[in-house]
Structure formats: structure tokens, C-alpha cells
């Protein structure tokens, strides 16, 4: 989990220092954002390669990490090349498949099962809807910041979030309880 409100202080670092320090966190962010490990890898690789080329400019930014995270978000939202062609399975299934390959080494605690189920449901969302949820609940950004990142109004952000939560059946506490009861 990355709290984007806690701004990292990065000054004068080389690209290699930045990548060494922040690549694992960027990959975690990309995995959560994309729901697909391979896509996360492609997106981060592409973004960092471009960031490397123009690192002097990026390192002059107030927060190079925020700049690169924004690049990751933009790349994900505009990505459609090989991913779209090869992504026969719904987004998210790949990570679910990975679990299956582990030979059933699951933690069967209810909370984990519910989290898994919710993760798979997240794969049914559109990219902007998913991005809004990730930015709001994983990155812990305010709607105003999310609107700025996505280049839309706060009302649009709220609309994306509302529709996404409705799809996930998380639109209200009542529905959440109902969902939990259905599973029990």
C-alpha cells in the first residue's frame, strides 16, 4: 500500500538509484492497477524505459515518483496493444490461475476468500472505474487529486466510483452486509 499523500522526498538521484529504490513499489502499484501481472510488467517496463531516456527532465520535477506513477497510470489507461490481443482471459484471471498452480496452498480464512472474490470481481470493471478505486482506496487520494490525474471533473470521478461499487455490490453498507450474508 502506498499512501500517495505522504510525498516522498527525492532529490538529485540517478535513474538507477530511483529504479533500485522504487521499482518494487511501482510494480506493486501496477499489479493492483492492472490486475494482471504480465500487463503490470509491460506497463512498468515501457514507462521506466521512457523515464530513463528523459530522466534529467523527470528528476527536476517536484516529485519524480509522482511523475512516474502518473506515467504508469496513463500508460495503463491508454494501453491496448499486445495486451488486448493476447488477453483471451478476463483481466485478473491470470493471477487467479497462479493461485491454482500453487496446488491449493490457499489460506481458507473467510476474509481471504472474500478478498479473492472481490479481486476477481474487480476484473470486470472498466479501466477508468478500476483506476478510480485503486487511486481512492489503495493510493488513498482525494477525489480532487484523482480528477486531476484523470483529467476529468470530481463529479465524473464520483460517477466512476459509484458505478464501480455498484458493479462490485459494494454501493452501501446495507448491500455489503447482504453480500456477506449471501456468502455465509
Amino acid at each position: 500500500m502506498h499512501n500517495a499523500r505522504t510525498k516522498p522526498v527525492i532529490e538529485g538521484v540517478t535513474f538507477e538509484q530511483f529504479a533500485t529504490a522504487r521499482l518494487p513499489a511501482l510494480l506493486r502499484y501496477a499489479v493492483v492497477l492492472t490486475g494482471d501481472r504480465e500487463l503490470a510488467q509491460d506497463v512498468v517496463q515501457e514507462v521506466l524505459a521512457r523515464a530513463h531516456v528523459k530522466w534529467r527532465r523527470i528528476s527536476d520535477a517536484d516529485s519524480p515518483e509522482a511523475y512516474v506513477r502518473r506515467m504508469v497510470l496513463n500508460e495503463y489507461l491508454s494501453w491496448r496493444r499486445s495486451w488486448a490481443a493476447r488477453n483471451v482471459h478476463a483481466v485478473g484471471e491470470r493471477l487467479a490461475d497462479l493461485d491454482d498452480l500453487r496446488g491449493g496452498v490457499h489460506d481458507h480464512a473467510d476474509s481471504v476468500v472474500e478478498a479473492d472474490a472481490l479481486w476477481n470481481k474487480l476484473a470486470t470493471l472498466g479501466r477508468k472505474q478500476r483506476a478510480v478505486l485503486v487511486l481512492r482506496y489503495y493510493e488513498q487520494l482525494e477525489d480532487e487529486q484523482i480528477a486531476d490525474l484523470l483529467g476529468c471533473s470530481q463529479a465524473t470521478v464520483r460517477s466512476h466510483a459509484s458505478r464501480a461499487l455498484k458493479t462490485l455490490r459494494l454501493s452501501s453498507e446495507h448491500q455489503t452486509r447482504k453480500f456477506a450474508e449471501e456468502k455465509s
Partner: protein
């Protein structure tokens, strides 16, 4: 945090650590950025500016990835995150700070060309591993297999071991080159978004591709980067 916020956070946290290997990702980043730099500068590249992937791989195998200290001109405080702990400091080696070479050697340029040909044809890491096994090349020297395969591709020869390129990837590589030309001309994502509107395209990626085609063809763009 409200109830559904907690549930979503839990769902994200269950999977956030299922990431690709950072060292492998960094290796590919260095390959890609070398390609981008070379294309940007023509035949001139910075031979010494890219850290050896092995060195970085070593750094990623440390228990934590946050540098504890840097030189006097550098400070970095990374945000806290689960599972992250202070790690030994990262010190660039002389190879990282070596003066850029004005031009790469012909041998290096030929290798890069072959490596590009391998990826541009739609092959990837998995095929390189298959070929490395076929040619009895250590998987630690996977780059050697990519170069050897690329040389065969450039010579219009068929690759052994039954490896097949992904046609969708090959097609996407063409578009990547256009998108690359777009970025190399100095345009960025915001420009792509504007151009997508101007050209009535579905998304900004289409704008990157169309913009790159125009740039490479020498056609005028609606605005300068």
C-alpha cells in the same frame, strides 16, 4: 475508512505482492531504454550510462529496497509500505558513472540491431529461454540467445526449436515504433490526449501511433511539442 473501502483495500493487499521479478524487469528496462536512446540519437548511444543488469539484480535481491543513505548531494525518503524495511545503501559503481561513450562499437551496434530484430519480430523472453536451451546457452546469458536469434532473423533464416512469434505482438511492435517516434519527437501523454480529441480518435494510444506515422513520414503535426 468505510466498510467497502476496507474490503477493497484488503483485496488489493492480497495481490499487491504478486509482482514480476524486479531484476528481470530492470533488465528489460535497460534493453528498452538503450534502444530508445539509440534511436533518439541515431547511432550514438551512451555505452557506459546504463548499469549492468547483474549489478541491479544483486540490489533487488536485498531484503529491502529503500536506500538508507546516498551521497551528500542526494536524499531519498521513500514512503512507508508493508514489508519494506531499510536496506543497505546503494552505491553506484564506476561503471554506472563512467563517462558516456560518444559512439558505441560496431560490434555492440550489431548486437543491439540483432536484439531489436528479435523483439520486433514478435518473440519474447520465453522464446529466448527455449532457444538458449536448444543452443545450450546458459539462461544467465539469455541475451546471447536473443542476439543469435536476431542475427538469424536479419538473415531471413528460420529459428530452430519450433519457436513461433506472436503475430499480435509483431503487429503491436510496429505501432510501438510509431508511438516511440511520437515520444522521441518530444510529445508526451498530454499531447496525445489533445491529438486524440483533434483527430477524433478512440484513445490517446491511437493518437500516439498516428502522430508517429506522421512524424516519420514528415507530415505536419497540428502543434509542436
Amino acid at each position: 475508512m468505510n466498510d467497502h473501502g476496507d474490503q477493497l483495500r484488503a483485496a488489493f493487499q492480497t495481490r499487491e505482492n504478486e509482482t514480476p521479478d524486479p531484476a528481470a524487469v530492470f533488465q528489460r528496462v535497460t534493453e528498452l531504454s538503450r534502444t530508445y536512446k539509440r534511436r533518439r540519437r541515431g547511432l550514438q548511444v551512451t555505452g557506459g550510462a546504463v548499469l549492468g543488469a547483474g549489478l541491479i539484480a544483486g540490489a533487488f535481491q536485498l531484503p529491502g529496497i529503500i536506500p538508507a543513505s546516498h551521497n551528500s548531494n542526494t536524499s531519498m525518503v521513500a514512503p512507508a509500505g508493508p514489508g519494506l524495511s531499510p536496506a543497505p545503501s546503494f552505491s553506484p559503481t564506476p561503471s554506472a558513472s563512467a563517462s558516456p561513450k560518444p559512439e558505441e562499437s560496431p560490434a555492440s551496434s550489431a548486437e543491439d540491431k540483432a536484439r531489436d530484430a528479435f523483439f520486433d519480430a514478435g518473440y519474447g523472453y520465453d522464446e529466448a529461454v527455449t532457444l538458449a536451451k536448444h543452443w545450450k546457452i546458459s539462461t544467465e546469458d539469455i541475451g546471447e540467445a536473443k542476439v543469435k536469434a536476431g542475427e538469424l532473423i536479419l538473415a531471413h533464416k528460420k529459428l530452430p526449436a519450433g519457436v513461433k512469434p506472436d503475430p499480435a505482438v509483431a503487429e503491436s511492435k510496429k505501432n510501438e515504433k510509431y508511438a516511440e517516434a511520437f515520444f522521441n519527437a518530444g510529445y508526451d501523454f498530454d499531447d496525445a490526449a489533445k491529438l486524440a480529441d483533434t483527430w477524433n480518435l478512440k484513445d490517446s494510444y491511437d493518437a500516439k501511433v498516428m502522430g508517429g506515422k506522421k512524424i516519420l513520414a514528415g507530415d505536419p503535426m497540428p502543434f509542436q511539442p
